[in-house]
Amino acid sequence: MPIQYYIAFAATLFCIGVVGVLTRRNAIIVFMCIELMLNAVNLLLVAFSKMHHAAALAGGGKNVTTGVEGQLFVFFIMVVAAAEVSVGLAIIVMMYRNVHSVDVNFLNRLKN
């Protein structure tokens, strides 16, 4: 599959995530949009990894492992994302407990 298709797909997914972050006020939805953006990047990494692998195979040689780093990177991103979600959700829960709202506009302490 031409790599351009993957890039365009991942970019579209990413931009949908951006628009979600910009247009929604619910902290949980914003958080989900960030996950969406992470996944777009993950998909692109895997696609690039397969692209490099295909190029290495076409260049000849057996047992090449070119591209394996890309997929390991995706693995680590997932690890970090899982940790991030657990901490982030804990923060949102705490915020809800304090102000009884998940509205990000409610948190404008940065102004001062």
């Binding site: 599959m1 031409p2 790599i3 351009q4 993957y6 890039i7 365009a8 797909f9 970019a11 579209t12 997914l13 990413f14 931009c15 949908i16 951006v18 628009v19 979600g20 910009l22 247009t23 929604r24 006020r25 619910n26 949980i28 939805i29 958080f31 989900m32 949009c33 996950e35 969406l36 996944n39 993950n42 998909l43 895997v46 696609a47 990894s49 397969k50 692209m51 295909a54 195979l57 492992t65 394996v68 780093e69 997929q71 390991l72 995706v74 693995f75 997932m78 690890v79 970090v80 994302a81 899982a82 901490v87 959700l89 804990a90 949102i92 829960v93 809800y96 709202s101 998940v102 509205d103």
Partner: protein, 167 residues
């Protein structure tokens, strides 16, 4: 058009539509459900790229653990359409315009780039996505990052408990 292409396009369409539905759903619970559909579609893409390990991990970690966590939190807070805060129409408009501009730049870049001409991703075959290959690499070259990731998890767990604790 072979099976792979049909699968690619249908999975792409599914992922994009579901992603848009995540945004437009008024009820946060629906958003979570649509997001799970997006993750399933992306996992399908992984399988198409013969990245089996990542496809499974994606399903287990994202669609399974993380999304259930989201669902739990939403239900815990009893969020629904009525309590959903709405942004002003202007902020929404500007957000969509800004995102659309960004997307148009990415697309124009992809179309005009000379470097990407003739490159393509390998579908259905290739062995690097297999657990065997990844496992060898992970436990030989990347064993230290792997172990550090476990420490990260531990600290995240402790952090979540500390933050979420009622004081």
């Amino acid at each position: 058009m072979g099976t792979a292409q049909i699968l690619f396009w249908s999975l792409t369409a599914l992922a994009l539509i579901s992603a848009i539905m995540v945004l437009v759903s008024k009820n946060p619970v629906y958003s979570v459900l649509w997001l799970i559909v997006v993750f399933f579609a992306i996992s399908g893409h992984y399988i198409l790229l013969n990245a089996q390990f990542l496809a499974i991990v994606n399903l287990i970690v994202y669609a399974g653990a993380i999304m259930v966590l989201f669902l739990f939190v939403i239900m815990l807070m009893n969020l629904n359409t009525e309590t959903e805060p709405q942004k002003s129409i202007w902020m929404k408009f500007f957000g969509v315009v800004a995102g659309g501009l960004l997307l148009s730049f990415f697309i124009s870049f992809v179309i005009s780039s000379a470097d990407l001409k003739g490159k393509s991703a390998q579908l259905k075959e290739g062995e690097i996505g297999l657990i065997k290959t990844l496992g060898k690499a992970l436990f030989n070259d990347y064993v230290i990052p792997f172990e550090i990731a476990s420490i990260l998890f531990l600290s995240a767990m402790v952090g979540a408990v500390v933050i979420g604790k009622k004081d």
